[in-house]
């Protein structure tokens, strides 16, 4: 076992339509606990819904978007939503709001919106790239 590996995590399943964000969060917490480093969490496809600032589950249900955002902030881990996936699915930041003249923005802090190049960089530079897919 190599201690201190670097990971990119890719989440393609949305909260509520899949268990992917939950499994990925438990995995990410244990990664940090084991002394590994997370280069970035990349949201792709349906996974971009995890970055919605407006998700408001009932108070007696788990709040995966909120828990994930707290984790990213606490660990200063970059969270990146793929721009193409996000725009289609209505996840936009202030810049996209201005560019497309939209009525609002809803990208949750601390996520950034960026291209697939972030994923390619993970492939090149991270020791591990682990995917968390939907259940279909």
């Amino acid at each position: 076992m190599s201690p201190g590996l670097s990971y990119t995590l890719v989440i393609t399943g949305a909260p509520w339509s899949s268990q992917a964000p939950q499994t990925a969060l438990a995995f990410a917490q244990e990664l940090i606990a084991a002394g590994h480093h997370i280069d970035r969490v990349f949201l792709y496809g349906e996974g971009v819904h995890l970055a919605s600032a407006l998700s408001t589950p009932p108070s007696d249900e788990p709040d995966w978007p909120g828990q994930w955002a707290d984790f990213l902030a606490d660990n200063q881990t970059p969270g990146v939503a793929c721009i193409a996936s996000a725009l289609r699915r209505g996840i936009v930041d202030q810049g996209e709001q201005a560019r497309y003249e939209l009525s609002a923005n809803n990208l949750r802090q601390p996520y950034q919106i960026a291209g697939l190049g972030e994923w390619v960089e993970g492939n090149l530079k991270s020791d591990r790239v682990i995917y968390f897919h939907g259940s279909h």
Binding site: M1, S2, P3, L5, Y7, Q19, A20, T23, A26, F27, Q29, E30, L31, A33, A34, H36, D127, R128, I130, Y131, F132, H133, S135, H136
Partner: protein
Amino acid sequence: MTQEQTIQATLHILNKSPSHPRFATCLAALHEGDTLALAENAVLAVTDSTAGLPRNCVALGADLEARGLAGNPNVQIISYGDLVRLTAEHSRTVSW
């Protein structure tokens, strides 16, 4: 981490229900020495009389408990921390 002639032992993380077509494809793709980690809906395989699981098969305890299967003796139970360790030990992981 260069490509070797002989493929090294691989970790397969499978999260699909045994009814999902990807489940059978995964089982058919395993090599001797590979490890199969069942997660989410895939842990139902431990109680599926039609699923032939390989010897090196582990399943996430939290997912087994959720589905009332924590007492099933057919499989080695692992934690999320164990899953992290498996991904660190294997340079090749396939998420199904």
